[in-house]
Symmetry: C2
Subunit: 319 residues, 2 copies
């Protein structure tokens, strides 16, 4: 019988170039670079809740790190380390081989060393903690938005939610759109490069994981102002454009989860810098609204200025 | 319906005195003190595996942090921060209130700030990441034991395993022993003070969570030497002394899990320092064997020098 320690050794032990002491000890030891702060975040993915139990393990390995890297991106941090705690119903070497391949492919792309973890038997659950470096005082936060700032969004929202709507029978996507939407759901791309380049440029930032309106709500609340969003300005992918149910399209755009784009605010005089950054990164950055004095709320308006009410505000695991 | 964000706010948001930015953001921001390294570790507890689903939530809150603090103790680190990811089958405010009370009571005792986390719906699973400070180069490790070193053990092992044996019908404990053993299982005491005082004194250390022999095996392997353990020298609590099944007593002492004592090695010339430390901390520190050149193994011998073979080597979640 394969033991826990053999599992760790076989699938999850790779030497760390950066850590003083890496995986396979009681603790990893990290030496912070001079002038840097650590940004740290944790996310838990549960089978049947965040993914279907028979998900492709390699894609799941990618995604379980990607959703955490998205939090580092939102802080403008450079990814450095990860810890992985995983509960598995049984030892399944094929699954573990695929999962670790996906996890490490994402780790290598973003310079992340796996420095610790835990494996146990239990309902399939994946808990990842990530640590990044950010120059002291330069981290992006939720509480820095100012009245008059523009509100920006990277990429496009809604495709992951559209894939879920298709699965639930609420939408009928043609195969080419379904493939794109499913890929957005299964293999999200954390906006790490964008996040680090927004240091000193954005006044606040957040990653869009629970739905655009809900996540912007955290900025509005933390910064104590109102964010006015022009729903007509929200960028639409081909799949969302082809959606004939406008209510569903709006729900996916503004309240669908699992997008892992960055929403951020910036002074209006930085528009050219942000447009230049968009070209340099080859990543759409779209101005979708503006911040104004207000009580900490998000106000969505259509092209005629009429308020838009969403059927649901955003993803909440207990709602 | 209580939302995820309200849950976090109500039960898990306390201001952090140490962190630049604490709970309730994409990332926490930590400013490392000068000259310090970070020790970091993660542990996952699963209902039905590490605890029974109807465990007292306050004790479970204590234990879920304590088992992680034990890893910091083994590294000689000063606890500083924790992140908590938790999956719950449903919102249960009474349970959450109790759990958070237990978690924070342990956090306050050991100076730990909760700086991040995640809550989601799912089979009851608790994943904690802890971070501590340790002066650069002084962390306790597994790979520093030297031939000729003494092997030491704090406190006593076996009581938690004896409580489990009682529950499984393998032992019949009188009520007063059962209460003590159950308390050791439910509310372990991480040896944080001992760990930090062993910096510069112990040559290697590990926390005894998977069973003494198995955990000493990690030191033997990492240090590439043999550890000779005198089974007769293992300290026995009243409950273990009263156990009439000597095979079971030995199994609990040397292979039972969930002890959270520290096992460590130190040069023989430091015996007086360690004995003085024991008196100062009011914590038994017992010399249980010695290290010698060898292939990386643990050899248990009884009082007559005969090899002792354990029925099982230690706790392994997949064995």
């Amino acid at each position: 019988m394969t033991s826990e320690f053999e599992l760790i050794r076989r699938f999850f032990s790779r030497p760390s170039a950066k850590a003083v002491l890496g995986v396979g000890h009681d603790c990893a030891l990290l030496q912070p670079p001079a002038g840097m702060q650590y940004a740290i975040s944790t996310d838990m993915l549960v089978a049947g809740r965040h993914f279907v139990a028979d998900s492709d393990p390699e894609k799941l390995g990618c995604k379980s790190l990607a959703v955490n890297l998205s939090d580092l991106a939102a802080a403008g941090a450079d990814p450095a380390y990860a810890l992985l705690a995983i509960a598995l119903p049984a030892v399944d070497e094929t699954w573990l081989e695929g999962f670790s391949r996906g996890f490490f492919s994402m780790a290598e792309r973003f310079g992340v060393d796996l420095v610790g973890g835990d494996t146990t038997r239990g309902p399939l659950t994946i808990s990842v903690t990530v640590i990044g470096h950010v120059p002291a005082g330069l981290a992006l936060r939720r509480d820095g938005a100012q009245p008059g700032n523009d509100v920006w969004l990277s990429g496009q929202t809604g495709e992951a939610a559209l894939a879920l709507a298709h699965r639930a029978g609420r939408a009928q996507l043609p195969p080419e759109h379904l493939a794109l939407c499913q890929a957005r759901l299964d293999t999200p791309e954390p906006r790490v490069q964008l996040g680090r380049r927004l240091r000193g440029l954005a006044s606040s930032a957040i990653d869009v994981s629970d739905g655009l309106a809900a996540d912007l709500g955290h900025i509005a609340e933390a910064s104590t102002l109102s964010l006015h969003i022009d729903v007509g300005a929200l960028p639409r992918s081909a799949a969302v454009l082809a959606c004939t149910d406008e209510g569903l399209a709006l729900e996916c755009l503004a309240a669908g989860g699992d997008d892992y784009e960055l929403a951020f605010t910036a002074p209006a005089q930085r528009r050219r810098d942000i447009e230049a950054l968009s070209r340099e990164l080859g990543l759409a950055l779209t101005r979708i609204g503006s911040a104004a004095a207000g009580p900490g709320e998000v106000i969505l308006r259509d092209a005629r200025g009429a308020p838009v009410v969403l059927p649901r505000a955003g993803f909440d695991h207990f709602a």
